[in-house]
């Protein structure tokens, strides 16, 4: 039985036995190349569920929207499951109230090409799940060159300025990210205002740097923000670099190990950085 058929079958059983109040997954949209999120609450609707390379959104983000409805089943790939781990670590959701239907993922495809984030993905399979639906997936991740390593700080600034100059501050990147759940985002603070509201490069860069820093040790590099950006800004450039610094300096990967605490909340006696010890 293929993955999608199995997924529908399990969703149906879970709903019929009332083990969950709903199943969070994907359904087809009216457009090619992008799916829509589905929250299925009736067994007769499970046939709408799909899982393919157009499933662009990170469902952990939607978990926050439906978590108050009761126990919810959620379809989770590697990245979604890592986001779930981060949300558990940050006490935004309760483990008993989520039933994770794990799926292996070959990567999201955008405009006929594997999405930037997915090319270097090291976690195509969920790191935490209640059951696996279908087989695990294995592929060799591509190495993405870390351009920042060979740039001077001035060159960095140039690269970043050029990248964010197109930003229209629509905050789609923030809205689709499971880790951007602050009740008041720093860009929305108005008394006092923390970030200028115009879209000139200096205001934009402050937004982008603060966003990236808020993601340190939390971003799972799912790429949802990059795919959401209507202006084609490569947010993975920022995310990848921040994740790399966290990996090198703290020896940690966001959401990779359910029983490990996140980088910015722990102290390790064997921290790789000398000055802390």
């Amino acid at each position: 039985m293929d993955k999608v058929a199995r997924l529908r079958e399990r969703a149906k059983e879970l709903l019929e036995k009332q083990e969950v109040v709903g199943v969070l997954g994907y359904r087809a949209s009216s457009r090619p190349g992008i799916s829509q999120v589905a929250f299925i609450t009736r067994p007769e609707e499970v046939d709408r569920l799909i899982f393919d390379s157009a499933c662009s959104q990170n469902l952990a983000n939607y978990l926050l929207k439906v978590k108050d409805k009761g126990k919810v089943a959620v379809v989770a790939r590697g990245c979604d499951s890592r986001s779930i781990v981060v949300l558990l670590q940050e006490k935004q959701i309760e483990r008993e109230k989520v039933y994770i239907l794990g799926v292996g993922c070959e990567g999201v495809v955008v405009q006929g090409e594997k999405s930037v984030a997915c090319r270097s993905c090291r976690y195509p399979n969920p790191v935490i799940y209640d059951e696996m639906v279908g087989e695990e997936v294995h592929f060799e991740p591509e190495t993405v060159e870390d351009e920042f390593d060979r740039l001077t700080p001035d060159e960095w600034w140039e690269v970043l300025s050029a990248e964010v100059a197109r930003c229209i501050r629509c905050y789609a990147c923030r809205q689709v990210c499971p880790n951007c759940y602050c009740p008041v985002c720093f860009v929305d603070a108005s008394m006092p205002a923390l970030v200028g509201k115009t879209h000139n490069v200096s205001d934009n860069i402050v937004f982008h740097i603060m966003r990236a820093l808020h993601m340190a040790g939390r971003c799972v590099e799912c790429g949802a923000c990059h795919r959401a950006c209507p202006m084609g800004i490569d947010l993975m450039r920022f995310n990848r670099q921040v994740a790399k610094i966290v990996r090198e300096r703290f020896g940690l990967v966001a959401g990779a190990k359910p029983d490990e605490m996140p980088a910015l909340t722990i102290f390790k006696p064997d921290d790789p950085q000398e000055f802390i010890r």
């Binding site: 439906v66 789609a172 509201k197």
Partner: protein, 341 residues
């Protein structure tokens, strides 16, 4: 007034504007086309009339509204005693906007200028802009201008409409400004006019969607508390992509800044999808639930602006359909509303 411009004539005409530094047109920007000041006509991404990007002939990512209502602009500076107007509005020639964006311009004029009190910045920007639109011969799958009362060869809101035919363009002046641009070109041949007409019909034929706008309005008039909003809204993440890129969305926020001693008051685009949009000074926010925000967007397009200024504010450009990170299609939402409210 109708004329015929051979392809070389159009190029020469545009080169004049480009030479004067006034020409703005779509250029390629990564995976989409966007507005830029052009110095050489070769940068313009209109292959004839349409740019082929992402496998589809699609309109510019940012709408042409940026020419009358930029994302951020300084309204005035404050010298300690009084407001000083500092924004100098340049003369621009915008080439290559599509009929939907033209129609959106007409809407913005109606909303900001005819609807008193007028907005002096929008009025001045529109006055100083010459809009040379190009009719669409191959609309994209996501286009639906005909369903909301427009059309791929419509000139409303433009100064000049160019309709591509073999060997050149049939040009039509929509305004006096447009007549000046086209002055001196010969009248089109009968064949050229017939061909333009044929292309219009073909283009219209590609857009199959029909929306019963009258019924939609009636349904929305009664549908404020409908459960359909909750159902439609789970997927929407309330970002600003659809509103910011919509050619008619016109909400703005006002912000004060002191930059190197200069006190400035600016306005910046705002979006009904943001929680801050409806935040009261008291701290109360009447529209905290996401469904209410999505409802506002749909209501605004098909009801509120009709009540306010007598015009729909969806021109069917399809931008929101193309950019929504949640895969939401306003055409589907409208169909569901018609079925379900």
């Amino acid at each position: 007034m109708k004329v015929f411009l051979k392809s070389e004539d159009l190029k020469k005409l545009l080169e004049q504007f480009a030479g004067a530094g006034k020409l703005f047109a779509p250029v390629k920007k990564g995976g989409y086309s966007g507005w830029a000041r052009v110095s050489s006509i070769d940068e313009v991404v209109l292959s004839g009339a349409q740019a082929v990007l992402q496998g589809e002939e699609v309109n510019t990512r940012k709408p042409a509204k940026v020419f009358v209502f930029p994302q951020s602009e300084v309204m005035f500076e404050f010298d300690g005693e009084r407001a000083v107007e500092v924004t100098e509005v340049p003369e621009v020639v915008v080439f290559g906007l599509r009929p939907c964006d033209g129609r959106a311009m007409a809407f913005l004029e109606r909303f900001f200028v005819e609807n008193k009190p007028e907005d002096p910045l929008v009025r001045e920007r529109r006055e100083k802009a010459t809009l040379i639109g190009v009719a669409c011969n191959s609309p994209a799958e996501s286009c639906f201008c005909t369903a909301v009362g427009g059309g791929p060869h419509e000139g409303k809101g433009l100064d000049v409409l160019l309709r591509e035919v073999n060997g050149g363009f049939v040009g039509e002046a929509v305004t006096e400004k447009g007549e000046k641009v086209l002055a001196g070109f010969p009248a089109p041949s009968k064949e050229a006019e017939v061909e333009a007409e044929k292309r219009r019909q073909e283009a219209e034929g590609k857009m199959a969607l029909r929306i019963d706008l009258k019924r939609l309005k009636e349904v929305l008039d009664k549908g404020f508390n409908s459960p359909v909003w909750e159902r439609l809204t789970l997927e929407c993440v309330n970002c600003g992509a659809c509103t910011f890129l919509c050619p008619t969305c016109h909400c703005f926020d006002i912000t004060d800044e002191t930059v190197r001693g200069k006190k400035k008051r600016s306005r910046v685009w705002d979006s009904c999808q943001f929680t801050l949009y409806s935040q009261h000074a008291s701290g109360h926010n009447p529209r905290l639930n996401p469904a209410g925000r999505y409802r506002n967007r749909v209501m605004d397009k098909f009801k509120y602006t009709v009540d306010m200024v007598g015009e729909l504010s969806c021109v069917g450009c399809g931008r929101c359909v193309r950019v929504c990170p949640a895969g939401i299609d306003i055409r589907v939402a409208v169909a569901e509303i018609l079925e379900g409210v």
